[in-house]
């Protein structure tokens, strides 16, 4: 038997399985493992759609009132409201999923010992960590985009049916909004958002590579500690303000919002996108440098880390 095997393998060249794509497959395996990456946004989308169905009862009356308004900007803001609410809620879900994904990405594999299996394959720590940071930076925004567009489409269809049933043309939605432009703004917004949050994801990934336990605690503890320390010792809030800026101010840098006479921010023109101002924000670049350092540290840590 042994002999047979020997001649068999001696005749064949080393088995070559050409065209391996470690990065591609590493990203795919992350999606296999973390089904919440798409299940969470889908669930939120489902809740939004069901919620919208409940409000659809009074939709026709509200639409009539809106159409009677003099200010087209307010009318537009009112009609767009469910669409932008859906987009914001799903984007926020994507952010939360991304944070928790990153916190577990390099911790879970050590906890369940599967790191020993992953490391038995010819995939470098560089490729692995890079594939993991790709999830919140590329995969999640892409999923968010698809789910948001589908949700908005569903909202449009439901409202059209309801409006038609009450004798109002669904075209009143289209004439007051610009859905195609909305898609473009959404893509721009998703890119700006994920670049802005890159340092957060990088930090979480670093903590998940470093912490032996309670990764979540280690991730937020330094921020809480610095905030309190600063408050107690200097009586100032610079760090807290900085964090607030870090999490919330991306939209103000990326867009020049117009406000209706009611003060509702509206976004109805591509000229309101300010990529120049966004890209020249020093905080963005400092954040990206910080993220790069975190990712590099995570790669180094993964190299020497084993099961916990």
């Amino acid at each position: 038997m042994n002999e047979q095997v020997e001649t068999m393998t001696a005749n064949t060249e080393p088995a070559s399985n050409i065209g391996t794509r470690p990065f591609y497959w590493s990203v795919r395996r992350e999606i296999w493992e973390n089904r919440s990456l798409y299940l969470a946004p889908l669930t939120v989308a489902g809740v939004i759609i069901i919620g919208f169905m409940f409000t659809a009862v009074g939709l026709a009356d509200r639409r009539r009132a809106v159409l009677a308004l003099d200010d087209p900007a307010i009318a537009q803001a009112a009609i767009e409201m469910p669409y932008s609410m859906a987009a914001m809620m799903i984007m926020f879900t994507g952010f939360l999923v991304g944070v928790f994904y990153c916190l577990d990405a390099l911790h879970g594999e050590r906890r369940d010992r599967s790191i020993l299996f992953w490391k038995s394959l010819p995939v470098s720590d560089f490729t692995t960590v890079l594939s993991k940071i790709t999830i919140p930076l590329v995969v999640l925004p892409a999923i968010s985009f698809a789910v948001i567009v589908a949700t908005q489409l569903a909202i449009f269809l439901i409202s059209s049916v309801v409006l038609l049933a009450h004798g109002i043309s669904p075209m009143t939605t289209l004439s007051h909004t610009n859905l195609l432009q909305g898609v473009f703004i959404l893509i721009y917004g998703l890119i700006a958002l994920s670049l802005w949050h890159t340092p957060t994801y990088g930090w979480m990934l670093f903590v998940s590579a470093w912490a032996r336990r309670a990764a979540f605690l280690w991730a937020i503890l330094p921020a809480v500690a610095i905030t309190f320390f600063e408050k107690i010792v200097f009586g100032t809030n610079y760090f807290a303000d900085f964090l607030k800026h870090r999490f919330l101010n991306w939209a103000e840098e990326a867009f020049a919002f117009r406000r209706t006479s009611h003060g509702t921010p509206i976004l109805d023109s591509l000229s309101q996108l300010t990529p120049g101002r966004y890209l020249s924000t020093p905080g963005l670049w400092l954040g990206l440098i910080f993220a790069a350092i975190c990712v590099a540290a995570a790669i180094r840590l993964r190299r020497s880390r084993g099961p916990i």
Binding site: N2, V5, P14, L116, K119, P122
Partner: protein, 288 residues
């Protein structure tokens, strides 16, 4: 060419020295058993060989420095750490897709052939498989890789005897051949006695015995001594003595075969018996 070559391999943790200057040379085509008590440094040695841990000293595996080049090394090295490291969430078919997608020497058809002999369904997730099936799956994935070195760290831990036997049978019959090298650690030493070509005992980070199996069998001899010859036997300085069914079994190292045969019924000692004797000696030496 030596498959593994180490000189002065050292690894110290904060409180312990896991490897205390090991010299090691494993030739191609050998099956080496690394035997030692818990905490002896076996896993640390394997981790160093696999590029999972840094070390001091010199180490070359298939001509490469494992710590600097784990990724390249893993094209030619396979390892099974223990039976439970396959991710529990993965589907069997996805696992094969993934390994096929990243490993240049993986032969999907071979893996399918091995799996066809088992009852593992492609659509099952690892968490749904029994421990034995997970081991079979891991082995199928590993055997489908055309590697030069296979490292097994307690590969049959927690498996029942049937699976353990099958595991080593497949390994020998379907996988091992003259240009492959296997390094294995296990506590079930007697089960691999006939599998091994070489043997190494390791204790507290040092190699305490190193021998080929042929050498091992000529070096150690066990005798069930007739009671009236016990004193004469003890005079020959056995390295170990243990009672079996009211009689004494003495283990001799490098003893005169004819002289020993006259004392009673001789037999081939098991690795476990020699291990206990050698470790006992180590302890006595350490105690003095």
């Amino acid at each position: 060419m030596a498959c593994i070559e180490a000189r002065g391999l050292r690894k110290a943790f904060k409180t312990t020295t896991a490897l205390d200057g090991i010299n090691l040379r494993v030739e191609e085509g050998r099956i080496l058993g690394l035997i030692g008590p818990n905490g002896a440094g076996k896993t640390t040695a394997l981790n160093a060989i696999l590029g999972l841990t840094s070390y001091e000293g010199e180490l070359k595996v298939l001509g490469r420095d494992p710590w600097a080049a784990r990724e390249e090394l893993m094209r030619d090295v396979s390892f099974i750490a223990d039976v439970s490291v396959l991710p529990r969430w993965i589907r069997v078919s996805d696992l094969l897709d993934y390994v096929g997608g990243v490993h240049p020497r993986f032969d999907r058809a071979k893996a399918e052939t091995f799996l066809a002999r088992t009852e593992i369904k492609r659509t099952s997730k690892v968490r749904e498989l029994s421990k034995g099936m997970v081991a079979q799956l891991h082995l199928a994935a590993v055997m489908a890789v055309d590697a030069k070195l296979l490292v097994l760290d307690e590969p049959t831990l927690g498996l029942d005897i049937l699976y353990r036997k099958r595991f080593y049978d497949s390994l020998l019959n379907d996988y091992f051949h003259g240009t492959r090298t296997i390094v294995v650690t296990t506590h079930q030493v007697d089960e691999i006695q006939d599998v091994l070509t070489d043997l190494m005992f390791i204790d507290r980070g040092r190699i305490v015995l190193e021998s080929s199996m042929e050498e091992f069998e000529s070096r150690f001899l066990e005798v069930m001594v007739r009671p009236e010859q016990l004193d004469a036997a003890r005079a020959l300085k056995p390295i170990h003595e243990r009672p079996v069914f009211g009689r004494s079994v003495l283990l001799f190292e490098n003893a005169d075969r004819d002289q020993v045969r006259a004392l009673g019924e001789t037999r081939r000692p098991s690795i476990a018996d020699v291990f206990i004797a050698v470790m006992g000696e180590q302890k006595r030496e350490a105690g003095q």
